[in-house]
Assembly symmetry: D4
């Protein structure tokens, strides 16, 4: 879905219409008061840009070829969606790779393009990123670690176990992680949750960060735009809605 081929004016119109008719434009002004449940928030300990860091592990063009527990296009779209989510909400993101000069290949160029200035730790040999001091130093400023990578059963699981052992909270973003087969994935996730990890998907990460459609980047339009790029079925809802609203205006 090459976003650069989208008719920008049409898309902008669609989003604007959606925002207006759902009352977001008017509502966002007063939205500052809506989250007045600090006690609950603390208790629930939700993911936010202030308490979490995203760790993208070994999304390399060679390793990508090993992923067989989902369609290639679906998987790549999920990975980029997670990256774009982190960027949208300002969640700090650390990249790491394993032996980029070898068969594992370079990091997916589209990921690097989303985070041109992010810290990238090229690991000279450690399979478990947590064995690399530089990575641990970069990754551990916050308590909540959002982890995704290739392959789920090694590159994701090993640092998950290490981080949990040191007291961090680990959220594995399952649909932005991939491996050889569904049974291998399920076994790896069973080991991870058994050790205390939480499973999540990129859409839930985005919604947990957004919290309220009237808040967030650009008062909700940021998320709407991100969904229209990475979640085609939702993008279609927006386009259809905008067109129908326009019909209504004309005939109104």
């Amino acid at each position: 879905m090459p976003a650069n081929m989208m008719p920008r004016s049409a898309l902008a119109l669609a989003l604007l219409l959606s925002a207006v008719l759902s009352g977001l434009g008017a509502a966002s002004a007063q939205a500052t008061g809506i989250l007045s449940k600090p006690a609950q928030q603390v208790k629930e300990n939700r993911i936010s840009a202030k308490n979490a860091v995203l760790l993208l592990l070994d999304h390399q063009t060679g390793l990508f070829q090993l992923v067989r527990d989902s369609s290639v296009t679906d998987f790549k779209t999920n990975v980029l969606a997670l990256a774009a989510t982190a960027k949208l909400y300002g969640v700090p993101t650390i990249l790491t790779t394993s032996l980029e000069g070898g068969p594992n290949g370079p990091i997916l160029p589209e990921i690097r393009a989303i985070f041109p200035n992010a810290t990238l730790i090229p690991r000279p040999g450690e399979i478990n990123a947590w064995d690399n001091t530089d990575f641990v130093k970069a990754a551990t400023g916050r308590k909540k670690l959002l982890i995704a990578g290739i392959v789920t059963d090694v590159c994701v699981l090993f640092p998950t176990l290490s981080a949990l052992a040191e007291g961090y909270e680990v959220y594995i973003v399952t649909d932005a992680s991939g491996t050889f087969s569904a049974p291998v994935r399920d076994a790896a996730l069973a080991r991870a949750t058994g050790a205390g990890a939480v499973l999540i998907n990129w859409f839930a990460v985005a919604c947990e960060l957004q919290r309220d459609w009237r808040l967030g980047p650009n008062s909700g339009l940021g998320l709407a735009k991100l969904l229209s790029v990475y979640l085609p079925e939702y993008g279609n809802l927006i386009s259809s809605h905008s067109a129908a609203v326009a019909v209504g205006k004309t005939s109104g």
Copy 2:
């Protein structure tokens, strides 16, 4: 399965016959005494119309298009079956929607038709219904929360986690909840059960409420009728049975 197209007289006959020959008619009179195990009942803490509330979250016509972890017709039938179950047994039901005027679309008209007078909380922006004070007030009169909605990993999961954190018992009705894919559903349900939620399906909700075929609405005929509408394989059993009984009577 448009019930209004059913031959009412034939259906009534079928149900009547089924009831008679399975002894329900005769048995229901004495049925008042059968559940004399109050201690056990309390200990097991079963779902009943007195201790539970049904929360239907964001079953909106736009969001419906996102559901890909079951067939569309199966999913819609399950959702309506759950709604009809709550209505049959008198379980109070709260509806809520997210940005109805926008791409998410209006609530499924058939749901609204089943509960024309139920409380419906249109949320102006909160993704987690539990962040909306009105919803929480409406939803929390009872200890047991039956929750279903779209999508499982956000609209169902988020209030589940919030309610569990506040000490409520949460039953996620899995087959009346839908999302993008089976792996996403599984990951979300793993997080929910890890936090203490119980998984259930609509048929089990109905049976837990009915408890005994000789009790309940219309002494069991209420459930039989509901099943014949929403569970075609069971409806076929009833029709075949009634026809065979009639054959027996004629040849008897």
Copy 3:
């Protein structure tokens, strides 16, 4: 999807709006002239209410239990959708059953309700309906036979082969026919097409009969209403569209 539970006024509004904004209301008046390609029509020999008959074979409540090549609810919905399509467009329909008093069970009551006055040939023993003189007499007034039934490999296939041998054109409505498994279905359809049968699904039957949204029963609203009942994903499109148009009118 119990249609009788639908909020009729809401649905009517939705349909009306859809019709108006897509220009059907205005267009239907002039629509009489649009199909001025009689030569092509004859050459293509499309299905119409004048040249076709629908044969529904052995959709009985016992035999229904044998169908395992699709979900039960999906299959029943498809069968009723095909029946409703024939009724909407006035395609004559013949029903037949095999040993209704025995384990095969009675005809699905909902089918009989759609066609309370249709000819129903109860076959006393013939497995191939074409072996029953009464059925053949009833079925053969037209050249095009639309056939659906249970099970695909016998009740559908046998009369298909017989009718093709006598020079009729046979369209097997595949998704309103069911059998034990997908491989059995595929083998049966291979034998049918090898003998000259054409495969079709109920939605294509409806569209081939409708030809143009500005024509047909109620100038297109008949089909829209049918789809909103039997094709939930399309019904959702209509509901979402109507709601969005209403938003546009209000804000216009």
Copy 4:
């Protein structure tokens, strides 16, 4: 489903009831006249005990382990159902095996038990049974060859091609034939149908031989009994029906 463990008296009652109420008992007396369409019959050239022979190829206990395009139990049941069908209707049956003393193993004992006196051609080396003169001699008394075996792509396909080349009509009984995977099966069947073979399943074979429930072995009871053993879902219909008829008689 060990039939020998069935309560014989209950089964007999069930079948008897089914027969009586479906009118088979009364009808069978007059049934001799019902197939008075000789011309059509010839034209359609249906399978009968007079024009067909069943060839069971290499259903050996070693080769069985290679079959992965269906469940083991389903496949074995289908094979035995086909064998029992041939026996019920008196279709002559020829058995052949490939290198029984080697890894391919002996013929499935249950098949041999159904046909203790049938001709069995042990092939000393020929992969294509048609290369064995004895087999061809035994197999070719009739024009219609019903063929099933292991594996579909070799033991079934090769003699199919040979027989078609010599002018025989070949029906491959697909669900009593098995091989390594569904794609391999599909490719083999494509080659077979491209050469003129017809695909069929065992249930269709049985129904084509039965033609009318009032005819055949034991006036239809033979088929009913066979189905109750090899087609559990149909056996359940018979049991349920009989029980319901009995209820009706009692209450009638």
Copy 5:
């Protein structure tokens, strides 16, 4: 797999050979001493004929039609295999049914045939068998309950929860239990294991009862015979093995 059609002599030979060459015949005499690890046995608390009871819930011919999470033939074979296992090892077995006279249908005749004298509790209305005093009395002489039934999410799950609440150990025999779909099954089993139930399959039940091939009914031949009837792939191993041994003897 109609066992009564098996060539008994051939099968007997096969089993005898297998036993002889695997040394069972010679070994069984000394086998009495092999389980000299009583401490471990107690600690592990394995299933035995002395501490367990099998509860078969609602395996009725009508309810069978609802099972869609496995093939019909596979499921029926599993149910009968479990029943035959209990009989082989002398595990006491309790049967119960729900409204046998109605659409649920009679108990599967083959089950009744295996246990002609077992206690059968026909429940007049209670959905949860544990609500029926007679059933609880019959079912609770032992600490370990092996439970299987239709449907998994109600008839199996409800008494499981009740029994666990009263301190019993519950083993759900998953492959002899069935329900509407795999996701419904998975949700039900998640609730069950969350409450303390253990999941098991019939083959593991048999092996846990057998413990050692040199012990048990007929010194291991009982299990071998059972497997050859209900597990075709293992039966084929036995037949192939016996034939090969015979070849060796001849050529030796």
Copy 6:
């Protein structure tokens, strides 16, 4: 895969390297002579920009929601890949929509963006685009019609049958067409091929147009670039290859 987020310089480098080392740069100069088999070319009648037209039918944002025979993201990517292919090779493309103002929704904005100046025929009601004179006029300048659309069984199939009846060659681009389910798709494609249509996928269209990597837009780099955007697994091959070549250069 938002191409606009790709690191352009990195991608360019990758492509350049690939081209150089596979000898395309050097070879393209002499490539003018390689297709000197005009006779064969005519005989084979391959697709080219001079003899074919692409017809994109009803790829509208509402109808997209009906597609369930592939993942949403995969399908959208395939549709855009086909559109980009036509643009790359200069195959004239005609767009058409059905009732854009209604529930079917507007044309997918990304398609319109690729063809901002292409002819778009909005059909006021005709379901079969071939019934619209303007469309037929626009579509029929060439003999070969490449057709894709939503849904396969109606919007693609109907004009396919009409065009074949008038003597055109129709290629259905199957993976850029979508519908309700795989069985419905298969039945529709069987009808189409039975009438003479050819099945093809977008990648084969691209390769048939490219013919030789040394020819075509930008001497092969055009196709390489297109694949790197729409076929992630191939894009990864290019990235990995370029990185490895660079390693070799450095260490060489």
Copy 7:
């Protein structure tokens, strides 16, 4: 399955035993006379080492990553099995690659190892191998072309269409060919068979070449050895058989 890790002596023993007891050793001497049906052989026109050539197209290590219509290990094993089959029977084999120096990668080393001296045509740019004069010259000495490659819809299909157009007989070895998905494969094979190609799998190729277990390389032991390496389920049959024969000899 690294054959070099096999216990050679054990395997040799197994094969020898199998051969002896199936009578191959004795039979092979007289086997020269068994195929005395020359007329039939010609008519059937079977594949032989004298009339066929194997064309392996673009089995390159980069392109391998694109194959998603089967498991990677299964596919690679099938490809090598086909290669080993050709080598065993002496079917001439031509290799070709597309842009080996680029992202498509080198030919699979294991293939090259099987055919160290075979003609390998590196195509400098032609996508359709038939456009390369050298390849056509090498490939066309015989009438029957066995074709396999990556991807099925292009590298296999294009030369198939070209060769068929020039009058060759083309057999596509489907399980040694791979592509993006099952639907893409099916569409490509439909186009191929529509043009006259025959579908086959590697096991059928081997069996068609072997014809009789008493003939062929090493009087049948060549094929047995090949199967034990590339078809693990058959290899297991051989090992089990040999062990059981040995048991028989000892106890005989």
Copy 8:
């Protein structure tokens, strides 16, 4: 993938190149210092050749035929990969079999070939290997037990439960264990994890043993070579990478 057919020199070159360009050669010299986190290592308690033993249970050629929860070739490759992994890193390995002389068959010859001198305990009858004193003695020198076998629900599960009960840590290598179906596997693994077992796959075992690409057998080349044999998709990455590096060197 018969490794012995690989072009050794080509493979060696590929591996060497990969090693060189990823800096392994240079890095391995300094690698001794990298794992200076002994405290963490102990706390995490990773698998190593010093604290673990591999138990391979009943991978016998007869039992192999029972495995249906994965493809045969995939499963066998996984089993051998696990064996080769243990050998590469020097993890002590114990083999055991159940009734080798009977239908279960001999141990897979390829496994025995990898461990020609390993302890093999032939169990004369005990189903649970833990009931065999010799096996327990051989298996229990270390705290961590890596267990794989056939079938998962018995031969793997039973000793797992026994070992856990005695305080051992059990890792079930899921993809080197097999059984009748996926649901049976899932139920067995649920029971195992409920009792404290950890799930793992062979690739994760290898990576946990390797820890760092610069360490281990042959400074990382050992693992690379193992992967190129047993993980074809990774082997292809290595081959492609080496070829591309060579291209770069030439053109650099």
